[in-house]
Symmetry: C2
Subunit: 255 residues, 2 copies
């Protein structure tokens, strides 16, 4: 059973995961991050030792969790020098085969959620997708994951990538649409708060009906006059392009 | 005080508005809609008389509410022959000057919400934006609106258009992103339900932090490797184009 962890990274995912582990009684031995201030702040919160070099990571931990930018994972793995801990990363997009030399005890623990540092989250409701290099390691990671969340599912690297792409549409692009919406309102002296009941209902709907059935608006009705008027109202060229492309995609879907 | 209404239209907005009026004790005298089956179904629910021609609309009502496609409003106004009722439409995108010949007693009652017929809605929380041709008419429409909703605000035609454009981004495009997300998951044998906690949190966030601050994901980090991998994973060309354009827009925003 995994009782202790060292963490590499101090970004949004590392922060929330470290707190969840700490709250579940897992000892956080040390935390490394190139941004030392972040690292110290997080280490403080979970009673861990902040370290300034990967080589100084406490390698007696049962698991080493790498939670850094996708591009940086490979280098971290190369710099690690560990002969007993389970090594995992937390990325949706990186294949398990990044763990060259650790194929007997590596895996992935991917939390499918949007994390912002200053916002608390109920980790028990975060879906965790687990992959491992073999059955024993899978059992260890799964056992740990189940101490953190009620929603633990196996997903290989391909499934995880699909989930990550889908999450970009359902979260990152959705949030950007909110952002554009706020910018358009602000330009015209209007408050974003007027849209909150609409936003709430748009989201609540899909718990009961499919997004396909939930679609409303001028593009679904192919109401060309309305769409042309809207385009005249939008000043920013990128927002115009987004309006045109998404409307086209919606209209095609309901042809 | 407005005590009775006749309604033209039987779509999503007309349906929810008619029910809200009925529940608020307003007598619905008659309903006209070119789709007679819809019209009868709705009339039945609100104890109104369904009529087959606009000319048969009960013109003794205190208000006539036109809730049809934007393109059709002008024709409905031309066909109306009424010398005493207040006439309003419910569209975000149509100017009040569509009411030629009724400039002494016309207005707009625009509900900023996404309505689906089979889904109940708490109308008291729907923001209603009101415009009118003069103060007396405004007072009448506002009084009616306040009997339906706790959120009644004045908005002229330009403000209303802006709200409508913003709503397309925050609701219609958001829902389409959910839809694309579901399609990508389905193609790969995965269930949309795995994304529900993420979707819930994405929406909950913006009650506390601005969408600008809430943004996460590869485009915000300008993580080009992840974005290129995602594009390889997406098969549908329109979805690829949407991924590219929205990612570019996000990356530019955080430059």
């Amino acid at each position: 059973m995994i009782k202790s962890a060292s963490i590499i990274g101090s970004g949004n995912v590392a922060t929330h995961l470290a707190k969840a582990l700490f709250n579940a009684g897992v000892e956080i031995k040390s935390i490394y991050s190139p941004t030392l201030a972040n690292c110290r702040g997080l280490a403080d919160k979970v009673s861990a030792k902040p370290v300034e070099n990967i080589a100084d990571i406490d390698s007696s931990a049962d698991i080493i969790i790498i939670s850094v930018k996708d591009d940086a994972i490979h280098n971290v793995v190369e710099e690690l020098n560990n002969d007993k801990a389970i090594i995992v990363h937390t990325s949706g997009g990186v294949n398990i085969d990044v763990f060259e030399g650790y194929s007997d005890r590596c895996g992935v623990l991917y939390p499918l959620q949007t994390f912002s540092k200053d916002r608390e989250i109920d980790f028990s409701r975060v879906p965790l997708f687990v992959e491992a290099s073999n059955k024993n390691v899978y059992a260890e990671i799964e056992d740990l994951a189940k101490r953190l969340s009620n929603y633990v599912v196996e997903a290989n690297s391909e499934k995880r990538k699909t989930l990550h792409v889908a999450a970009v549409f359902a979260c990152n692009f959705v949030n950007h649409c909110y952002d554009i919406s706020e910018q358009i309102l602000k330009e015209n002296g209007l408050s974003f708060s007027a849209l909150l009941p609409l936003i709430e209902e748009t989201t609540n709907k899909i718990y009961e009906i499919s997004p396909y059935d939930a679609q409303t608006g001028p593009a679904r009705r192919n109401d060309v006059t309305v769409m042309n008027n809207h385009l005249k109202k939008i000043k920013n060229q990128t927002f115009k392009d987004i309006y045109t492309l998404l409307s086209k995609s919606i209209t095609e879907r309901y042809k």
